[in-house]
């Protein structure tokens, strides 16, 4: 009997508010509200873009979904294994990517990681600290993608994964992502100035509101950029 794996989903409730609670003495409990939802948002399997200008709460939203920081109000339900790959995620500068993959994965998974490294032109025998910014980004991406090959639904929260990657590497990562679009929710935080990416929907943060915009194929980039201003 064939059974299809359960689909991953992320649901942001109506009234969800994200931001930071103050740690200062006398201000405990007070929060800085960055964005909130007026209606529930559901992210189903596939690629979703997260767009906003600097300091509007993109990374905060990803961290809140990942459970690293609590929401100020409302709920988030994630159905699937969550991974948050921070833009600032850094491994030991002395470790070579081959060793990093060896620490995370065995056998088939390790082979997949090394194959993906070859595909996206990552030097696996050069110490992590000597890699360029783009190549360091690739290490985190490969770790996340390889883990997402494990059974069950997966949710990948990627914070500006393309910020240091050239167009060739972007295209190759894009083709890897296309292979398993139906089993993984990818919420990709991108800068509004990034080149166009294919996506199922876009989450926009503007004027303190978090909204979902359905995208048919690729986003109308100029219009979206203007709407964020």
């Amino acid at each position: 009997m064939n059974s299809t794996p359960p689909a991953p989903t992320v649901t942001l409730s109506e009234g969800l508010s994200i931001g930071y609670r103050s740690r200062r003495f006398g201000e405990r409990g007070k929060g800085t509200d960055l964005a909130s939802t007026d209606r529930p948002i559901t992210l189903e399997s596939g690629r979703h873009l997260l767009l906003a200008r600097n300091g509007r709460g993109k990374t905060t939203l990803l961290k809140t979904i990942a459970g690293i920081i609590p929401s100020l109000a409302g709920n988030i339900n994630c159905h699937g294994s969550v991974q948050f790959v921070d833009e600032d995620l850094r491994f030991d500068p002395e470790l070579k990517p081959r060793r990093i993959f060896g620490a995370f994965f065995k056998n088939g998974e390790r082979e997949f990681a090394l194959r993906m490294a070859e595909d996206i032109e990552l030097e696996v025998d050069k110490p992590y600290g000597k890699l360029s910014k783009g190549n360091r980004q690739k290490v985190g991406l490969i770790v996340a993608e390889t883990r997402a090959r494990r059974g069950g639904p997966h949710i990948l929260l990627l914070d500006e994964p393309f910020s240091g990657l050239d167009f060739v590497a972007r295209d190759k990562v894009d083709s890897v992502w296309r292979q398993r679009e139906d089993e993984i929710v990818r919420l990709v935080c991108v800068h509004p100035d990034e080149p166009t990416l294919q996506a199922k929907s876009a989450l926009l943060i503007r004027d303190g509101r978090l909204e979902q915009q359905q995208v048919d194929g690729s986003l109308d980039w100029v219009e979206t950029k203007q709407s964020l201003n």
Binding site: I68, F84, F91, E94, I100, A103
Partner: protein, 253 residues
Amino acid sequence: MELYRLTLASIVTRKTFAIFAVLLLALPFVLPLLTPWETKPSLLEPARAQAAWSLLWITALGWLLFQGATIGDRWSSHGILDYFKTLGVSRRRQMLQLWLSCFTVFAGLAAIAFAVSTFTAMPGDATEARHWLVTNLQYALLFFLVVAPLLILSISLGTRLNGAAAYAITTGLALYGLFGIGYLEVFLADNQNTLLNLVYIFSPHYHLSDLNSRLAFKLGAMPWLDLGKTATYLGGIGVLILGASFQLYREAK
């Protein structure tokens, strides 16, 4: 155990443990020869044991606690601990894996010191040899009860402060417990001071774990009742440190 393997790979790649391994293998044989041992050659072997254990203390304070502090600092500032948190690795499991990775390498270094002390300095007489072996095992137990919680503390402090501060605090605590209390005791013998007396009572008496004098003077194994009391005392301090470390641990700075 991915965090364990990643941290272990990081420690092994840096290879600093190799320096201490060489020192632990060589110095117990070299240092006693720098003394006027010819006047009493029978002291050479106990001196070797003493050197081996003293070097292990130096390795624990100089290498192990430093590893814990820097790893806690590095992983928390680089987003690694947050990443593992999102994978569902709880704070307790993170602490355990970080501790275990440091201790895996240190166990090899401790095994060298134990082997040098036990097997290259063992007395010829069967009864003395049995006492010698038991004393070394007792020493290993008490040493572990002191060092293991301090390592957890250095990791946790590293995740909250920076590596240098975390290392300084943990090593300072260890040095105070091993040597500082002795000075305080001497001071209190000549002076009555209620506050310092309380400080003395509530201080971690890590010097109780140092069985070097038993080995050097061949005093035989510790009576089991005394060992039980000392182990319970050091274990109790260890539990307190563990509790504090759990509160101090942070996945991100």
